[in-house]
Point group: C2
Chain length 509, copies 2
Amino acid sequence: MSQASPVSRPLQRLAEVSALPAYRGRRAELLTDFYQLTMMYGYFRAGQQDQRVVFDVFYRTNPCGNGYVIAAGLEQVVWYLSNLRFSDEDIAYLRGLQQFSEDFLDELRRFRFTGSLMAVPEGTVVFPNEPLLRFEGRVFELQLIESAVLSFVNHQSLIATKARRIVEAARTNPVAPDGPVIEMGLRRAQNVDASVFGARAAVIGGCVGTSNVLAGQSFNIPVMGTQAHSWIQNFASELDAFRAYAETFPDNVVLLVDTYDVLRSGVPNAITVAKELAEKGVRLSAIRIDSGDLAYLSKRARRMLDAAGLADVGIVASSDLDEFTIRDLVLQGAQITSWGVGTKLVTSYDCPALGGVYKLAAREVNGVMEPCIKISENASKVTNPGKKKVLRFIVDGYASADLIALDDEAFDPSQPLELFDPVHTYKRKTIEDFTIEPLLQPVFQDGELVYELPPLENIRSRVEAQLKLFSSEILRPVNPHEYHVDLSQRLWDLKQRLLHAQRPAGAPR
Amino acid sequence: MSQASPVSRPLQRLAEVSALPAYRGRRAELLTDFYQLTMMYGYFRAGQQDQRVVFDVFYRTNPCGNGYVIAAGLEQVVWYLSNLRFSDEDIAYLRGLQQFSEDFLDELRRFRFTGSLMAVPEGTVVFPNEPLLRFEGRVFELQLIESAVLSFVNHQSLIATKARRIVEAARTNPVAPDGPVIEMGLRRAQNVDASVFGARAAVIGGCVGTSNVLAGQSFNIPVMGTQAHSWIQNFASELDAFRAYAETFPDNVVLLVDTYDVLRSGVPNAITVAKELAEKGVRLSAIRIDSGDLAYLSKRARRMLDAAGLADVGIVASSDLDEFTIRDLVLQGAQITSWGVGTKLVTSYDCPALGGVYKLAAREVNGVMEPCIKISENASKVTNPGKKKVLRFIVDGYASADLIALDDEAFDPSQPLELFDPVHTYKRKTIEDFTIEPLLQPVFQDGELVYELPPLENIRSRVEAQLKLFSSEILRPVNPHEYHVDLSQRLWDLKQRLLHAQRPAGAPR
């Protein structure tokens, strides 16, 4: 395919910190649920707007049956928080709703994000119930930002995770273990941002490029593409169409062979053109098959190409691919060397939402920060109270378990540590000779950005490095082994205490 | 719930032609697949850039098992085409890809949309294979726009259709047949545009409002919301939290009753507050239940409210709702009077993509427009050739069938007309005394906008009017009866002729 950079050096065009001003500077102060504004107004009216609170972002269930999630979206959160202010137009709109007082609107006019944020870097492998972002600040501010923050983190983490599943499937291919996966879902994406940030997240998950030029421009991602069926149809013959394309892009000739008949027309014509090109010293890079049975057609096409002395010509496949179809094609010996993945990737078709939530963990009462718990009929929805951190224990180069602990807890790596399952507490294990990786990093401190946004290429590399920490059982795409995420003894005790103390006031037990 | 306008006059705030300049004026010239640019370059190099072509947008399969689709997204297409020009920044980016010549980049710099567009108005009920948009113009222009146009139309039509399914389910509720459905999926939407245009599409499908303030501001949609669990948690008691909220928004008090225990705490406390409010002449509008078994809890809560003389207090339900859960809750006698729907609506969770395509229907050859067909191994993927129109035949106030015909065909309503199934041609019916509704309307003529964009409220009304044309069998949410979409005899003949003529050149039969 024609592309901004060859597949063999796929990420060289990723600039330092990417994203055009159009995306970096985009404002979204009203990208919030209306109840955030009504609550902000309530706190303001009660004189409680400066109360300090802690909110955690976490999710409860891995998407798509996967064993983990790849955290993504933090960069978008950083731009958003950095640009948060209300315009005159916003104030006028809110005034028009006739719900808010003028002094509240004045308070909004002064709005700046002055809070603190600890977050896991993008590209980190994370698990259910782990705080991925921890906000601390004025309730007035932290209430506003919930909805937008969740949308960014939920969306990009979901697509990065789905992309990873697809890339891992492509890596099982003995024909081309490094066969690249290219994101090409723009036309089925859920509107502009889903395609642009979806392409970014796909690269984090391991895709080498995108068909989406706006994503390429915005995030300096390699853009790739060849020709459509309409190009082939718009010439007197398939052969004429192939020749015209090869003349235009002699450096990287990929020919779409399925417009009329792959084996009786497309591949023979591609071979004819390859021979004509060879006389000029030009090489046919690949053929592309976009319909029909990809296992059968790729194997037959491979044989035809090989018989014509074109063993080095690649076969690009696309057509409703996802991780399951790719794995089956590989198992059936399909001779595919690179993969174009659209709809199923960009929408995360079989699991199109990640259920990240934003929950109150602590609140200031009479000047003291007190831990909060949210109880629920559904035991899995009970939250972990207090200001917390997440630690990853590495033993012999592998992640042994993650521990959610209170922020002020310390663990001595020179001493054995007993960990236990927070539900089935009889399940215990003791680890020794571990190193501790704290997952949460400072991003904002009292409104000041203290985090250097890594280039997209580094985020992508982080994913590869992170995944090496986990055993293949945890990375299995279907029915993976469950990774241990435990609570520290102190946090567990606190949770039990609050659970038993928390009873509806005045209600019968 | 607090809302910008009461549910009883839900759409009054929809302005004439909505959308803020931020959305109307947004440019997306690089929102395209890279292969569109390589093909444009190929046509340019071949001196073929001014060739005239016709492209159709249509889809092949109804989403979510539905019997139809509600067309949406045209307004976004109109803004996009109106704003299409390349900035210096775009040109610099494309130059940097080192694939294109300077004279091609100059041609891009001069780019304006000068083509013609016929389209079905937003809110039209449409069926598989019907052209929803028909573009005619220079191949250079029509190639660029494919990807963006598909993304807009696919996304908004999908969400409008999904919203309609949910609204229809809510209308089966004898407790509150007009019980409003409110879109509240921002936090799980696939990024910003998915939430904003998703809210717009949800209103087209019949929702009365959204929680998304940016969508409210952008499209003048009523915004609605109350308080979150964190509000309740952030007071010394649930009762205090309820009182504080009621004080802030006395005009529309909705209380979230499931933070601690719906029946033992939430509802009793809500009743206490309702009695306190009554003394001040204020009415409790509703309680809201966001977890637990909504059938059981709403019935028990209803009895408690009624016993307290609060029969007029509504019950708002939310919690992972979709059309199936709503129908089941209604069947089980749930006492719910309005519905908040999030994730499942805004992502169209069980069918998150509509597969609209953009196919070449005709192309200029030696100055004459010739029909094109795309053949395929898969018979359902064979396209309908030529420049076409779509006619809806109305008999006795009901839509009897749609007919895809060539653009220059005329049908005489005073004569009987025999229609036939385009695949099983022995299936025939003759209609008489019909009126003809042409579905495609002129939108652009030679680059000039000739269409008045209707206000969102009118689009929403159009949906209601359109659905009245179809029998309940076609509107059934599961296994609906298939509506007839036939081809005219002339179009059918043309298709057969091209199908048999179209054989791979030089290949064995």
